[in-house]
Each structure stands twice: as C-alpha cells, then as structure tokens.
C-alpha cells in the first residue's frame, strides 16, 4: 500500500489484533485500516495533507478548536477499539509521511512496542476522582464569646478542628487510593485538575487512574463503591469513569526499556 499523492498517515494506536474487529470511522470519517509490521498492528487513517499535514499542525498548534476536533476523533477511534480489544494509545500528533515510512519506524521499535502493548494486554484504564463536597458543619456559635480570651480560644479550637479534619481526609484519600491500587495492576495519581479546567468548584482531592484487568472490573467497582460509602461520612464523593483506553499506562518505548528492571 503506497500513499496517494498529498496524503499523510495518522496513527491512533497499537492493537492486539483480533479477527472480526469492527473498525470505526476515523478523523473526518476517513476509513481506519490496520498496518501490520512484524508483530505490531497499528490503526491508521490516510488523511489529506492539505488538512492534516505537518504545516497544518504547526499552524494550529495553539488553536484550541482545531486541536479539540482532532483529539476527540483520535479518542473516539481508541475508545471504539478498547470496547473490542486491547489497545495501546499513541500520542498526538502521530502524523507520518506514508505507510512505508511508518512500517519502517514500527520495525525499528518493534521490541519496545510489543513490550509496551504486552504491559496493557487484558486491561483497561479506570479513572477515579475524589471531591470534597461538604467541609463539615461549623461548631456551635450560638453563644457569643464571653471575653477576648474566649474568642481567641474558640478561633484556635476551630483552626485545630479544621486542620484535624483536613489531615483525616488526607489519610482517608490515601487509603482509598491504596485500596484501589490493590484492586488493580498499576496505579497512578495525577495532579488534581484545575477547577478552571474542570468547571467543578469542589476541591479535587484525588485524580487517579488504574490499570485494571478486564475480568476484575466488577471487583474494582465493588471496592470503589465501598470506598465511596466510607468517604461520604467525611463529606467526600468518589467518581469512577471508564473503561478508558490505557492512556496513563502507555509508556514510551524508552520509558519501557528503562522501567524493565522495576
């Protein structure tokens, strides 16, 4: 298969090849096909260089609408695949000049890519976030302070109560992460999302991802539900999302090689 004039190849991700896969539509409805090189199978679409060539990417590198358009379609393909087979997401931009060049690159990195795919075989990613929805009731303030000393004592007691509650929540969240990590193969805690990005005003106390064996998803959810009930008493909620393609567990070939002794 040689590239037609004026096209580039967009690579979505590696898959554990299975017969009878139903391939979704790709970017702008372009057909998604499978390129095989050695033991590696990659999902690709041939796109017009006029719309998705390197110069276009450069021109739109800071264009939110354009990037969102590509990101959503890139994700949609990976999401459709993770519901059928195991998939290793490739990072955006992911543009290659033609299939022959891509095959060459895949061949050069075959060992590392196979290893990276093997690390997620049989797994999906589940996301978990903990939000603080209720900071707890204020102490009884019906009685006015009887003196300046009393006022200061109350202030100090309130500060202590808040700090104790904060430390308690911190410990509960760490326990929750540990329990979910225990129910998964790998776990990663990411920085909490900025409220300006998420649109959520409640403080986010945990933003984690877990690599979970497909057959243990129900177990993971059962653990999460138990945690959720436990956190409620301290004004927190747990939200689980997924199954996602394992974005958080797709190590680069270099990372994988470095991480082998771990």
């Amino acid at each position: 298969m040689s590239a037609a004039e004026g096209t580039v190849v967009h690579a979505y991700g590696l898959i554990a090849d299975r017969p009878a896969l139903s391939l979704p539509g790709g970017v702008d409805g372009a057909p998604v096909t499978i390129v095989r090189a050695g033991e590696v199978s990659v999902l690709v679409s041939e796109l017009s260089a006029k719309d998705y060539g390197p110069e276009v990417w450069r021109a739109h590198a800071e264009d939110p609408q354009w990037l969102e358009h590509v990101a959503r379609q890139h994700h949609a393909v990976l999401q459709a695949m993770v519901e059928q087979t195991d998939v290793l997401p490739l990072r955006l931009p992911g543009i290659h000049p033609d299939v022959a060049t891509l095959e060459e690159v895949l061949g050069e990195q075959e060992t590392a890519l196979v290893r990276a795919l093997e690390a997620v075989l049989g797994h999906v990613e589940l996301g978990a976030k903990v939000f603080l929805v209720d900071e707890g009731s204020k102490p009884d303030t019906e009685q006015r302070p009887t003196s300046g000393r009393d006022y200061l004592a109350r202030r100090s007691a309130e500060a202590t109560r808040r700090e104790d509650a904060r430390l308690r929540r911190q410990s509960l969240v760490l326990d929750a992460h540990e329990s979910m990590a225990h129910a998964s193969t790998h776990a990663v805690a990411n920085p909490p999302q900025d409220p300006a990005l998420s649109g959520r005003t409640e403080p986010m106390l945990l933003n984690a991802a877990y690599l979970v064996p497909r057959e243990r998803m129900d177990d993971f959810v059962a653990v999460a539900e138990q945690i959720h009930e436990g956190l409620a008493a301290d004004g927190m909620t747990l939200e689980v999302s997924g199954p996602w393609p394992p974005y958080n567990f797709a190590a680069t070939p270099d990372d994988t090689m470095v991480g082998q002794d771990g």
Binding site: V8, A11, L14, P54, E55, R58, H60, E62, D63, P64, Q65, L67, A71, R72, H74, H75, A76, Q79, A80, L88, P89, L90, R91, L92, P93, G94, I95, H96, E104, L106, E108, Q109, L113, A116, A181, H186, A187, N190, Q193, D194, A196, L197, N207, A209, A224, H228, T237, E239, V240, S241, G242, P243, W244, Y247, N248, F249, A250, D255, V258, G262
Partner: protein, 71 residues
C-alpha cells in the same frame, strides 16, 4: 455511585480527555509533526482548549512529568 460509562462521542468530558492526551500515549519516532513543531506547543494548545488565559501557565507547569510503567 455507579461507574459512568465513557461515551465515545461528544460526551466525554473534555478535561478528562485532555488530562489523558497530554503526556499520555506512546511516542513513535519518525512523527513528522514532532520534527517541525515544538510538541510542547501542541500540549499548550490542548490546555488552551479549556483554560482561561491566566491559568494556562500554571497548568502547563503542573502537568505531569514523563511517566514510567512502574509505580
């Protein structure tokens, strides 16, 4: 609580998607965009998808370092 099934279409929370696409996924060498455009610029662009200008700088600084598979 129930596990929210991530939708394939427009319903995926953009912030969750961006959260995963920035720094997530395997990099193939030979990517012709990476060779001409600073990839950080693309990720800054992805942040811009949602962020008011004043938070972008912090978000980029806080975005996670490259990860390894081991914990």
């Amino acid at each position: 609580m129930s596990v929210e099934h991530v939708n394939v279409g427009e319903d995926v929370a953009l912030v969750d998607l961006i959260d995963r696409l920035i720094g997530g996924g395997v990099v193939l060498t030979g990517d012709i965009v990476l060779s001409i455009a600073d990839v950080d610029l693309v990720y800054l662009g992805l942040r811009l998808v949602l962020a008011p200008a004043h938070v972008v700088e912090d978000s980029v600084r806080l975005s996670r370092p490259p990860r390894r598979l081991e914990e």
